[in-house]
Amino acid sequence: MNPLCKPNEHALSRRQWLGGMGGAAAAGALGGLVSPAVGEVLKQKEKQVLFIWLDGGMSQLESWDPKPNTQFGGPFRSIPTKLPGIHVSELMPRMAKKMDKICLVRAMRTQDNSHSAGVPRIQRGDPKNRGVIYPYFGSAVAQLMGPTASGLPPYVWVKPGSGGFKPTDAGFLGPKYGALAFGDGQPPPNFLRPATLSPEQDTARNELRRAFNFNYAQPRRKANNEANTYVFDTAEILLKRREIFDTSKYPQKEKDRYGNHLLGQHMLIGRKLLEAGCRFVKVNSYGWDTHGDHFNGTVSLVNRFDQAFAAVLEDLEATGQLDHTLVIAMSEFGRTPRINGHAGRDHWPEAWTIALAGCGINAGAVIGATNAQGTFVKGDEYDIGHMFHTWFRALGINPDAVEFDNGGQPLPIAHDDMGVIPGVLA
C-alpha cells in the first residue's frame, strides 16, 4: 500500500475545511501571502486530482480495450504492454510502456447514451434522483477538501473555448464551488494587474485595504470579512503564478514532449497548475464524438492523448507528485462496437474503460473485462457510482461517513447503493 494515501485516513468534513479556509485567510491577513507554492504543496503532500475529460466519447476499442481480428475490432492492431498478457491499441505506444503505472477498469457499464444527459450525469456520479442537482466531481472535491495550502482556487479547468467562472458545475453546493475555467489556457478576465499600476503601489493599496478591513471586522462577525480576505488573497496568489499561462516562456523541449496540439499544451498547463497547488485540475479535450470517419479521426485523437497522458504521468512521477495525485482519464461513455454506415462508431455506455493512476490506486491492475467481441461486460460490471466511491476512498474520504449538507438535508456524496470497485485501490 502506498504509505502516503491510506484510504479512510482522514475523512474530511466540511467543518474542517471551513476551519482550514479561515486559517488560510488569517495567514493572508497577517502580513504576506503563502510562499510560492510548488515546494509547499510537495512538502505537504496534499492530495490532488488530475481529471482528464475526453468529451464526446473515446473509443475503448481503439485505446484501452482492443479486440483486433474480431467482427467489430476495426483496422488497428493491438500491442503488448509492460504488463504481461495485457494489450492496448497500437495507437498508444507510449502508454503501452507505462501500463505498470496505471489501472484500467474495463468493465464500465453506465446509463446514458446521449451527451446532453451523459456528460453531466457521469461527472455528477449519477446519484439517485433526489430532486437536487448534484455537483460535478471537481466541485465535490473543492467542497469536501477545500483549497490546498497554496490558497489557489480548488477547482480549475483548462479547456478549449470560453473561460471564466462556471458556477453550474457546483449544483446544490452553490456557485462558490464552481470551476474557474482557463478558456484556451488563458486566465480569467481582470486577472492581470493593469500596466498603470506598479507592483509596489498595488501592495501598498492592498495593505491599506487590509488594515481598514481589520478595523471594521474586529468587533463584528468574522465570516464575511474572512471570505472577502480569502478571495482578494487568492487573486493575488493567482497573479503570482501568472507565468503558468505564458506558454511562450515554456521550454520548447517540454512543449514538444506533451505535443504541439491543444490537448498537449493544456495538459502541460494543467500539470503546472497541479504543481502550483490547485486541488483539482480538469483538462478537457473536445471532438471525440466520431460518428463518421471514426478510424482516421481516432488515429490523431488517440495519438495526441497517448502523448500528453504519458508525458504528464512521467512528470508527476518524476517530481513525486503522482504519489498524492489521483489521475483519472475518461469520457461520458465508450463507442459502439458496431461500425455504422459512415465508418463511424456511435455512443456505447454498455462496455467501456476508465483509466486511473496515482494516489491510492493499484498501479498495474486491470479490473474487469469485456467479452470476446467487446460488445458487453463479461462478469462484474461497474457504474459511475462505483467509480465515485473508489475515487473518494483514494482521496481518503469515506463516502459512508461523509455527507453533503444541502441546507440541513444530508445527502450522500456517492450513490448509496454502490461501493468501491474491488481491486482498484492499493
Partner: protein
C-alpha cells in the same frame, strides 16, 4: 394624626394609582405599535443574551439609505444627519425616505432580485413592479397579478414576466414547467415542493406529492406565446383542462389524480362545459385575440392562494419582508416552511402575518414598522461575548446587490453625472458599468442572492478592472480631485470616510491614512489608492 385625616388625603390618590397601573395594560394592545411589540418579543426570546448597542447614526443612515433609496447617502447628507441634534431625527428620516420616489424603485429592485433570481431583465416587468410599489398595491393583489396575469390590461401585463421568463428554454433543457411550479410554491407560500414531484418528500413529512401535482396541474398547462395585438408582452396560453391529471409515485404502482389545487388546500372541481362553450372569449390567432377560459386553473389557484384564508401566504411574505430587513428569515431557509422547521420566533411570525392581514397586505406599512424597530436599528458590532444570529441580538451584514453597489460607487466617486452623459458604447458609460457590475457581482441565473458572498471574480474585478480603476483617477470635480485639493491628510481622511462610508474616521484610521499618504511618492496616486482601498473594503461591500 386624626383618624380619617390620612384617608381624606389618600382617597383621591387611589383612582390615580389604579389608572396608572392599568394604563399600559389598557393602552398596551390598543396603542402599542407593531414595532414595539416586535422588540418585546425579540427581547423576550433573547433572555439573558445581551443585545447589541443601537446602531450609530452613521450605521443607521447608511443602512436606511441602502434599503430605501438603493444607494449610500451623500457626504453632504451624512454631514447634516450626523450634526443634527434632534432626538427624533431617525423617525423623521424614515418618514422622509418612505415618501421619496426612490422608495418604489428600490423595492422594485429588491423584489425583482428576490422573485426572478437573476434570470434576466424586462422593461414592462420593471414598470409593473415600480408602479405597484408606487401605488402601494397590496401584496395579495400583486401576487394574484403574477399568478394569473391579466395580459390584456396594459397596466398589469408586465406581471407576466414571472411566469414567461421561467417558461423560456435555456441550454438544452426542456421547458421547465416543474421549475415554474416549484417557484410558485417557493415565492408565494414559502414551500419548496420540488422533492415531492415524483414521490412524497423524503425529509419533509408535510410535503406530499399531491401538493406539488395540484399546482403542477395548473402551471404545466401553459405554452409560451409571443406578443400580439391584445397582449403587448410575451404571455402564456392556458390550455383547456377537461379532466384531472394523473400522477403516481415512483415508489409505487398506484395512480392518483388531481385537479388544480393550492398546496395543503382543497381540490378545485373542474366544471364540465358543453363542447364549444368552454371559452368566455375564444382565442383567435389571426386576429390576435388571446382568449379567456370560463374555467381558468390559473385564476382559481391565484384567488385561493393569495388570500388571508391561506396561512402560508401571509407567513411567507411576512418572513420574506423580515428577511429583507434583517438579513435572515424567521424561518430559514425561506422556502422550507413545515412543522419540523419552526420559526425562530413563532409568536413573532404569527403576529407579523396576522397584522399584515389586518392591514390588507400593506407592505409599505409593514416595512415602515420594521424600520422603526430597535431590532432593525441595532448595530452590527456584536455585544460582549457575541450573539447567535437567530436571536437577532445584533444587526446582520447583508449583501448589496450589483445595481445599488454601482449607484453607490458612482455617487461616491463623484463620477455619476459624467458617466450618465457618455454614449452607451463608451467603455465608461452607465450601460458599460452596469454590465461590468452585473458580471462581477450578480449571481448566475437561478441562483438566489441571499447572503454576502465574496467571490474571486469580484475580487479580480475590484483589483484590476481598468474601468473601475478609471473611477479613482483624478478628473475635474470627482472625489479624488476634491480630496487632493484638501491637501491635509486629516481633512482628506475625514472627507473620504464620510463620502464612502458615511462616517468619520477614528483617530487610528486618520493616522493610518496620514502615514499612507506620506509614504507614497505622489499624492495624486496615493489619494486614488486611498479611495480604492475604501471602495474595496468589506465595510463598503456589505450593508451592515
Amino acid at each position: 394624626m386624626k383618624p380619617g385625616a390620612g384617608v381624606s388625603v389618600e382617597r383621591p390618590m387611589r383612582p390615580i394609582i389604579f389608572i396608572c397601573a392599568l394604563l399600559p395594560v389598557l393602552a398596551g394592545w390598543a396603542a402599542e405599535s407593531l414595532s414595539q411589540r416586535i422588540d418585546k418579543l425579540i427581547a423576550a426570546k433573547a433572555g439573558r443574551q445581551p443585545l447589541a448597542e443601537p446602531a450609530s447614526d452613521s450605521e443607521f443612515l447608511r443602512r436606511v439609505y441602502l434599503d430605501f433609496t438603493g444607494q449610500i447617502p451623500t457626504a453632504e447628507g451624512a454631514r447634516k444627519f450626523l450634526a443634527n441634534p434632534s432626538a427624533d431625527k431617525r423617525a423623521k428620516l424614515i418618514d422622509q425616505l418612505f415618501a421619496d420616489a426612490r422608495w418604489a424603485e428600490t423595492m422594485a429592485d429588491r423584489f425583482h432580485v428576490l422573485l426572478m433570481e437573476r434570470r434576466g431583465e424586462e422593461e414592462e416587468w420593471r414598470k409593473w413592479l415600480v408602479a405597484s410599489f408606487k401605488a402601494n398595491k397590496p401584496w395579495d393583489a400583486m401576487a394574484r397579478e403574477m399568478l394569473a396575469p391579466e395580459g390584456t390590461d396594459a397596466a398589469k401585463a408586465g406581471a407576466w414576466f414571472f411566469i414567461t421568463k421561467r417558461l423560456e428554454k435555456y441550454g438544452q433543457n426542456p421547458t421547465d414547467h416543474p421549475g415554474l411550479t416549484r417557484d410558485v410554491g417557493r415565492m408565494f407560500m414559502g414551500v419548496d415542493l420540488q422533492c415531492a414531484q415524483c414521490h412524497r418528500h423524503l425529509t419533509v413529512k408535510d410535503y406530499k406529492q399531491l401538493d406539488f401535482q395540484g399546482l403542477y396541474a395548473a402551471y404545466s398547462n401553459l405554452r409560451l406565446q409571443n406578443p400580439n395585438d391584445t397582449i403587448k408582452v410575451k404571455w402564456a396560453m392556458e390550455s383547456l383542462l377537461k379532466k384531472e391529471m394523473e400522477f403516481g409515485s415512483v415508489f409505487s404502482e398506484t395512480k392518483k389524480t388531481t385537479g388544480p389545487r393550492v398546496p395543503f388546500g382543497v381540490p378545485i372541481t373542474i366544471p364540465e362545459f358543453k363542447k364549444g362553450e368552454e371559452w368566455a372569449v375564444k382565442p383567435d390567432k389571426k386576429k390576435g385575440v388571446s382568449g379567456r377560459l370560463k374555467f381558468s386553473p390559473l385564476r382559481e389557484i391565484a384567488t385561493r392562494m393569495a388570500t388571508p384564508e391561506n396561512p402560508y401566504f401571509a407567513r411567507n411574505i411576512a418572513n420574506r419582508a423580515w428577511f429583507l430587513m434583517m438579513g435572515r428569515g424567521l424561518i430559514e431557509p425561506l422556502d422550507l416552511t413545515h412543522t419540523k422547521n419552526p420559526p425562530s420566533h413563532p409568536e413573532l411570525l404569527d403576529l407579523l402575518a396576522k397584522e399584515l392581514v389586518a392591514h390588507k397586505f400593506d407592505l409599505k406599512w409593514l416595512f415602515r414598522e420594521l424600520a422603526r424597530t430597535q431590532t432593525y436599528q441595532r448595530s452590527s458590532v456584536l455585544p460582549k461575548g457575541g450573539a447567535p444570529e437567530h436571536l437577532f441580538a445584533s444587526a446582520k451584514e447583508r449583501p448589496i446587490a450589483a445595481e445599488p453597489l454601482l449607484r453607490s460607487v458612482l455617487l461616491a466617486t463623484g463620477e455619476r453625472d459624467r458617466v450618465t452623459k457618455l454614449d452607451e458604447e463608451d467603455a465608461h458609460s452607465l450601460k458599460s458599468f452596469g454590465d461590468l457590475f452585473q458580471g462581477a457581482f450578480a449571481n448566475a441565473p437561478r441562483e438566489p442572492e441571499l447572503a454576502v458572498t465574496p467571490t474571486l471574480k469580484a475580487a479580480l474585478f475590484l483589483r484590476n478592472n481598468e474601468a473601475l480603476l478609471w473611477l479613482v483617477q483624478r478628473r475635474e470635480g470627482n472625489l479624488v480631485d476634491r480630496l487632493i485639493k484638501l491637501k491635509e491628510p486629516a481633512k482628506i481622511a475625514n472627507e473620504a470616510f464620510l463620502t464612502l462610508l458615511a462616517r468619520n474616521p477614528s483617530d487610528a484610521e486618520r493616522a493610518m491614512v496620514k502615514s499612507f499618504l506620506q509614504k507614497q511618492p505622489t499624492l495624486q496616486n496615493a489619494v486614488g489608492d486611498l479611495v480604492w482601498a475604501l471602495l474595496s473594503s468589506t465595510e463598503f461591500f456589505v450593508n451592515h
